[in-house]
Symmetry: C2
Subunit: 135 residues, 2 copies
DNA sequence: CATCTACCGTTGTATTTACAACTGTAAGGA
DNA sequence: TCCTTACAGTTGTAAATACAACGGTAGATG
């Protein structure tokens, strides 16, 4: 059963990848979850929290707390949206600069992870998430 | 960058899979992490915590806390090992019965997840983790 | 034999994540 | 218009996870 269980395996790989990235990021005072969000915001442009959460398959409550950190660090800016209830998030120049600063690390991590996980897996992973995003 | 980042994608799929399984397990009073460990113990037989942790890419501290739950539920038994420092973990008959009880759910979840993630991804995932385990 | 090191598991603290409940705001129907 | 419902984000609580530090035990080395 352990031999075939998707959950066992996905969660194991998740721990592996997360630990690897945290190791890389530790000297830079950032966590993987934050960098992931910055990447997403850089790619999506100004975006509503609920839309970002849906895109990342994150709970709105989780996002809300992650954002408090990024706002405090000045990597993300929050403005009022079309409603009094909605907000618009934008990555700041400092956020973009931070992403650029860790770019070499990121590239290295990608290379190492691809080596460890195999190109077949990495490419299948890309396709799968593309499909999820395409809905 | 978000388009290629392995961490973004693995972590996203992890959230998806974990949420799916937690939904299934909720009526049964179990969590995915616990079921994963039970599966592993059923497959490995009596095992030392440190060996189990290495196999699952889990920190020994994390495992220690997860075990407290499983021991409390009576699904796992802990005995003294060859040393005064080492222990031996064994899944109990109740633990095996619990695994068998959720088997139909598990099969259903496997099918649904395979459909959502694609057979290419699931098969690549299997191979990748097999390689990691083969060391 | 004594000490030093390495190993094994637990505990303190923090992060990521989720679900449920709550607050406040908009929209729609009676 | 008023009430109900739906939406957007926050907060309370809890679980999984990790790192660092600790306590106890075994083995190695002088």
């Amino acid at each position: 059963m352990a031999r075939e269980c998707i959950a066992v395996r996905v969660r194991l790989v998740n721990r592996l990848v997360t630990a690897h990235c945290e190791d890389k990021l530790r000297p830079h005072g950032l966590h993987v979850a934050q960098v992931n969000l910055l990447c997403a915001m850089a790619a999506m442009g100004p975006v509503q929290p609920s839309v970002l959460a849906e895109r990342m398959f994150l709970e709105k409550s989780t996002l809300s707390r992650d954002l408090q950190v990024l706002l405090g660090q000045g990597y993300v800016q929050r403005d009022g949206g079309k409603d009094a209830r909605s907000q618009i998030l934008t990555i700041t120049p400092q956020g973009i600069a931070k992403l650029e600063a860790i770019m070499p690390l990121w590239t290295e991590a990608q290379r190492e992870l691809t080596k460890q996980l195999g190109t077949t897996f990495v490419s299948a992973l890309s396709d799968t998430v593309d499909d999820l995003w395409a809905k």
